[in-house]
Amino acid sequence: MLTEFILTSLARFLSGASVRWIDCQPDTCQRVYFANHTSHLDMILIWSALPANVRKLTRPVAAKDYWDRGPLRRYMAKTYNAMLVDRKEIKVHQSPVDMMLREVGATDSMIIFPEGGRQAGETVGEFKSGLYYLAKKRPELELVPVYIDNMNRVLPRGEFLPVPLLSCITFGPPMWLEAGESKNDFLTRARDAVLRLKEVE
């Protein structure tokens, strides 16, 4: 509890984050928050931007190769109730998508970064297919696009000291997989939904 409070406050202070909800409200219904990814703080930021009751039911999905290294990171990942996914060894019978869906069950929401890794600068990379399979297997989940602005300046890839500038987290209107929508169309539409939040005043 205390660790959660300290880390959340620290992340908020360092990133000066302001939170906006556009055509969307915080809710405890089951959701998949998908966001662009530029810094290690992203996971903590989105998680701490959610109201406490929603936060309790939300599990960030994070890379095992980063968050499982060293006791401190493992401890932090535990504080955030993170699901650690192995990016290196993806087994056929144990796909990360199945694992995630099993973990969230019928109550929890999750935070994912569909680019599959941090991007350099302001660009938003192509989305990996995980989001599509999530939507296909559980079509009733609300998919909420999230755009994180300016974090690439707060803590760019390859740096370990954050510069406490001001960043902004924007939650957008939920979307779903349309009937008969192809994988590529859906992933492009999802990426555009994130990019559109960048333009919103």
Binding site: S18, L161, V163, L166
Partner: protein
């Protein structure tokens, strides 16, 4: 002591009246007043309350006042840098600027190391920044990038830090046998005078511009600033400075008027400079840049430019050496 209570009473009475009027008028839509102007007025009154709460702190704890000004600088600087595009290679220079130079400047102000805090940023920080950016190895628009970081640090941190530094100015009061060192309350009153004149000059310039403004100084930068506003506003501020002479440490009446005028003119210069930067970046207020952040820089631009000049002229007039 009596003087301080008098000040508190007058300020609370005036601000209370302004708040009451603003709130009452807001609940009377049939009067047909400009709703936007009224909202601006109420917002301004709130800002005044915040500044006077801060000044009240100055009467009790100079250290706490320095810390609060330090936080204001930090917030203003991060607004400034967020608004200014920087490149990836500036990261380390920005880190040192925000995490080291900013707090350190306020620490040395708090210890009153005048010899150091008056040159620390313009010498050491200003030489460090270009060197650090150069080491990072990106030469594209080098001078421009360095200048951006330096300007932010100079305006938001160095200049503003001279306002709380007034609380540590060791001047003498009275003359002849009566001559004695200034008490902490005398110094707090000096800061009170400075902030009050800065806030008043903004209000006076606005009112004069609204009533008599004909000749806009620079329409491309700020369409609301007129010559009538500047001249009328500065003269009114000088008059207000004379009325507050009893609260200042200046021996002569004209010195209070002169210092008030200096604050008005420097405040004007600060507001124009910030307008130019905002115009260049295509925003109206720093506050709207990031929702939920108060736009600290919008509120302190006038104070930033006036503070170091006010500090140094006061130092000279009061013969601090």
């Amino acid at each position: 002591m009596l003087r301080d209570w008098l000040l508190v009473t007058v300020v609370v009475a005036l601000l209370g009246t302004a708040t009451a009027v603003g709130q009452i008028v807001q609940r009377q839509p049939h009067l047909g007043l400009n709703a936007a102007a009224l909202a601006t007025f109420n917002r301004r009154v709130r800002v005044w309350w915040i500044f006077y709460a801060l000044l009240l702190v100055a009467f009790f704890s100079p250290t706490l006042t320095v810390a609060i000004f330090g936080l204001m600088s930090f917030e203003a600087l991060r607004e400034f840098i967020t608004l200014t595009p920087t490149r990836r290679a500036d990261h380390r220079a920005l880190f040192w600027t925000l995490v080291f130079f900013t707090p350190f400047q306020y620490i040395i102000v708090g210890y009153n190391y005048y010899e150091l805090f008056s040159i620390f940023i313009p010498v050491y920080a200003f030489l460090f920044i270009p060197a650090r950016v150069a080491i990072a190895g990106d030469y594209k628009r080098f001078l421009e990038r360095v200048a951006k970081i330096q300007s932010g640090l100079l305006i938001c941190v160095y200049c503003l830090s001279f306002a709380p530094a007034l609380l540590y100015l060791n001047f003498q009061l009275g003359d002849g046998v009566d001559r004695h060192a200034a008490s902490p309350n005398d110094k707090a009153r000096l800061l009170f005078f400075f902030i009050t004149m800065a806030l008043l000059s903004e209000a006076f310039q606005f009112i004069w511009s609204q009533l008599y403004g004909r000749h806009v100084i620079s329409p491309t930068i700020n369409a609301a600033r007129t010559w009538e506003g500047l001249v009328g506003g500065s003269a009114s501020t000088a008059l207000a400075g004379m009325l507050l002479h009893w609260a200042t440490p200046y021996p002569l009446l004209w010195q209070s008027a002169f210092m008030a005028m200096v604050i008005a003119i420097m405040g004007f210069a600060g507001a124009m400079t910030m307008s130019a930067i905002k115009r260049d970046r295509g925003v109206r207020d720093y506050g709207t840049l990031v929702e939920g952040h108060g736009g600290v820089l919008d509120r302190i631009d006038a104070i930033c430019f006036a503070a170091p000049v006010f500090y140094h002229i006061t130092r000279h007039l009061l013969g601090v050496g």
